[in-house]
């Protein structure tokens, strides 16, 4: 990003027609001022918008910038021209070669698409963990009758599960279950495709997001449930 731009390389006429209004940026810098990570690694939202507007998105795709940004939208809220900066960043993330997506984001997503959850956790292990945690809750006074009914047809509420709650944070499975029990709610969890996270949101993968959301919808239809608790 430190080399001068050769005007002849700019592709102002054939740059992608993104619907995020990046071309109307006035370079005022409101976005850069409000961003909590402006300056880190040379990043700031205005530079992202300007590079995108000039058709230099490949530089952005190769940089760490879109992954340091959390797409929190504070820049966007400050922008007087209503440029959808968070969407620009997400689109740039989507252009990164999938093998180069940092950390476990794409690997987790791939696992979810293939096995129904980010951890590749087998169904039997999943069911064992649910029952184990339910057993722990039943030892607490007032919760002796607590039941986790999996794939319960006609329940009122279907709830998804964040993978960390059946991994390192099983204690945090208990809160909603206790509330459901106290409220006398009819609720259920799906034994397949229970994953509540949808990392396509982070990697810019719309097809994956549709697939994940579609699975939840199919479960609701199959189990005849009209209310979803999707806390992720």
């Amino acid at each position: 990003m430190t080399t001068p731009i050769d005007v002849a390389t700019l592709r102002s006429n054939d740059r992608p027609r993104w619907p995020f209004s990046q071309d109307v940026c006035m370079t005022c810098g409101m976005c850069a001022c409000t961003c909590p990570v402006s300056g880190v690694d040379g990043f700031d939202p205005r530079k992202v918008v300007r590079l995108a507007a000039m058709g230099l998105e490949q530089e952005l795709v190769e940089s760490r910038w879109p992954w340091i940004c959390t797409m929190c939208g504070k820049c966007e809220q400050a922008c007087p021209m209503e440029v959808r900066i968070a969407d620009v960043v997400r689109r740039i993330r989507s252009l990164r070669d999938r093998a180069q997506v940092p950390g476990i984001l794409h690997k987790g997503l791939q696992a979810a698409l293939e096995t129904g959850n980010n951890l590749r956790l087998p169904k039997d292990d999943f069911l064992f963990i649910l029952e184990d945690v339910a057993g722990e809750i039943r030892e607490e006074p007032g919760f002796e009758g607590l039941q986790v009914q999996v794939d319960k047809k006609g329940a009122r509420v279907l709830t998804t599960i964040h993978n960390k709650l059946v991994n390192t944070h099983t204690e945090d499975l208990k809160h909603w279950w206790k509330i459901f029990h106290a409220a006398g709610e009819s609720w259920t969890v799906s034994s397949e495709n229970w994953e509540g996270t949808s990392w396509g949101y982070f990697t810019g993968d719309d097809d994956a997001m549709k697939a994940m959301a579609g699975r939840i919808l199919s479960q609701m239809e199959a189990l005849e449930i009209d209310t979803l608790l999707w806390p992720e």
Partner: protein
């Protein structure tokens, strides 16, 4: 909300005696407002009011709140130094309230705040899911 309002559950707001504060997650607040026309700002605050006696808002809050730094998948990218640095403003804002408990309704925010509190000398800060607070306040029987 529906459970408390309809009396399907009862909660005891006297169990937590300290001061609490509330963090607006970007996705449920600002981004929901910008993308879908409704930010969930007042609903969680109403629930919070049912579950604790004393709480104060962070500054800035609601549409203007500062991201905690845990969103967008940053907990999983491996760029941890950047993520911890990102959270400094949020931690300063929490410290300024003097609260002993920060309540959040988001898995990413919870993970981030829990992960960085030690780094900012706030190891004693209690990071609580909104639904965990409700479960803790439940009156049984």
């Amino acid at each position: 909300m529906e459970y408390i309002r309809e009396g399907r559950i009862r909660v005891d707001r006297s169990r937590f005696s300290g001061l609490a504060t509330y963090h607006d997650p970007c996705n449920y607040g600002r981004k929901a407002h910008m993308r879908f026309g409704h930010g969930f700002f007042e609903e969680p605050r109403w629930i919070l009011s049912q579950c604790v006696e004393r709480w104060v808002d962070l500054y800035p809050d609601r549409l203007n709140q500062t991201c905690c730094g845990g969103g967008g998948g940053t907990l999983t990218t491996g760029y941890n130094d950047e993520r911890v640095f990102y959270g400094r403003r949020k931690m300063e804002q929490i410290k300024a309230t003097g609260a002993q408990m920060i309540v959040v309704p988001c898995h990413s925010c919870h993970g981030q705040l829990e992960n960085i509190k030690q780094h900012y000398g706030m190891a004693d800060l209690e990071v609580k899911y909104l639904w965990e607070l409700v479960a803790d306040a439940l009156v049984i029987g």
